[in-house]
Amino acid sequence: MVKAITCPSCGGPVTVKYSEQSLSCVCPACLAVLSTANESVSILVKSQSKKTKPIIELGKRYNFRGHDWEVIGFLVRSDKSGSYKWSEYLLFNPYVGYRFLVCMDGHWSYVTKTKSAPKVDTALNRATYLDKTYTLFHKGQVKNVFVLGEFYWRVKANEIVTAVDYINPPEMLSLEKDADEEIWSIGEYVHKRDVEKAFKLAGLMPLDIGVAPHQPSPHNQDKKLASYVTWLVALVFLVHFGFLVAVPKRNIFEATYRVPLSTSPTITTAPFEISDKAGYIETELFAEVNNGWLETTVEAVEENTGEEYEFDQGVEYYSGYDSDGSWSEGSRTSDRRIAKLPPGKYHLNITTAWSYPSPTTFSFRVSEGNLSWGNFFFAFFLLILYPLYYFMRAKNFEKNRWSTSDYSPYWSQNDG
């Protein structure tokens, strides 16, 4: 029921649109806050300075979260000192009731009164509401700096109330307490895009600054991927060690030969089998070289098909003594990884060359079922990078979130 009253402060006309439920309203002309609960209108606050223009127009209706809401009230509120300010819009729908749309540092919340009082654990700085636990974020004092429109309660301007906020993103559980009552409300973080669209605020949106206390971590989307990748790392581990167990390394050929003294003679080895086992083939050459080298050219011949595979392998080793002491360079053994040879019966034709004085013997060994640790570590480190990156970023976000709180779990780390 629309009620027309006369402002007792300036004598101007004031319209109370929802007089059945509005207990106070603001004179649009002189900005006096009036109590309209009783037949006689009284002045709650004579005048207001610090006039602020709401970015959402009062008296208009907007569809948000499935209901039509009329914006009927606007409050600018601040902390005790008045230096930190934010705005709250009172939304009304005669069927569904009241909600608040709160804008703090460009971050928006959709706020409802709770259906019962949450349980507070003062020892652990926590509050529980409907089986969800919220962590204490902020305790402070709040006052109204400027109000416009009409309200279902008697607006107490400049009166200070105690406010306590608990968070469990994307929700914030808030208590406002004064001598008479304790009012709990629950706010849900709303993406600014949704507010901009629903309340037609294109071009009017304030910039969002920092991280809001109950802002959901943008890394939540990455959390899934990070955990998948972590599982993948575990899988790589499992597969690798599974192979180690299932495919043990096995020597399939090993022999020691006297170094033939004629020029580039070729040694033909005894035949050996290469199976179709997983893993790669490794050849190992050992020669007792001293300040010299031994080079081999190896021809692996498949005995049935005559198919040939050729590779070089050599060792060199130098050592001596100078003013700095003894030194050495090179090695008497060398490993060579061969891409997997087709299974079959093979022999090797080894042609050698060497420096003088020649070593007396050299050994040649072929093994199969070798696993590449390099591949494993490469995959491991490449994969683990992402979860690590995610973890660092997610933690950083949480640190930013808590940077405005006196109850930050990161506090001791930052200052310690």
Partner: protein, 229 residues
Amino acid sequence: MKDFLCPQCGAGLKFTTSYAVSTVCEYCRSLVVRHDLNIELLGKEAILQDDLNPLQIGTRGVFQKTGFVIIGGVRLNHHEGYWQEWFLQFNSPIQNSRYGWLAQAQGEYQFLFEPLELPVESASKYNVGSTVSVTDDVSKKLGTWTSSLLGDSSAFKIIDMRTAQMTHFVGQLPWAPDKDRKRTIAELASTDDAKLTIEFGGSKNYIYYGQVLNFEDFNFQNLKEVKGW
């Protein structure tokens, strides 16, 4: 059920449930109370201007899968406004409650069971912050509604107290309306899903228990259309 005629205009009076004791004549708005066989005229009720309220006599709803219908209501005023309580007739008893209430304040809807009687104590003994002790019997009955209330004395801490006066009556009510009687209503801290209030009356004290729900949860039918919405 015996038919009663309005002592003022002679029209038939509506008593749809045996729990209803008073009613407002639909034709001449006389407020009448029935005693076993006779009818007493208490006065005349003014029409309540309540354009914004979507609830009315005849509005049906659902709580815990049981249907109810609003058959009466009362408006209570306190120093900072008012609230509305609607008298509900159930299709069948809900958790041993034969009838219930729907309290409506500041856009909030609260379903209340048939209240339980408490020992008579003066409201002046209590203030915000004090804890109300309830008998084992009441505590047990409340426990069947929500087990979280069992042994949780903190749920019975008073968080709000106000004195209210009934100003308007509509339809049927389970007691004889009395506009002069003031009652003190204490809201208790309650627990997650329960809501508790104590009514300190003159001769009897009652504890109301129930739950706040969203408008949509009641699945209301036959609502009054709010003009412009």
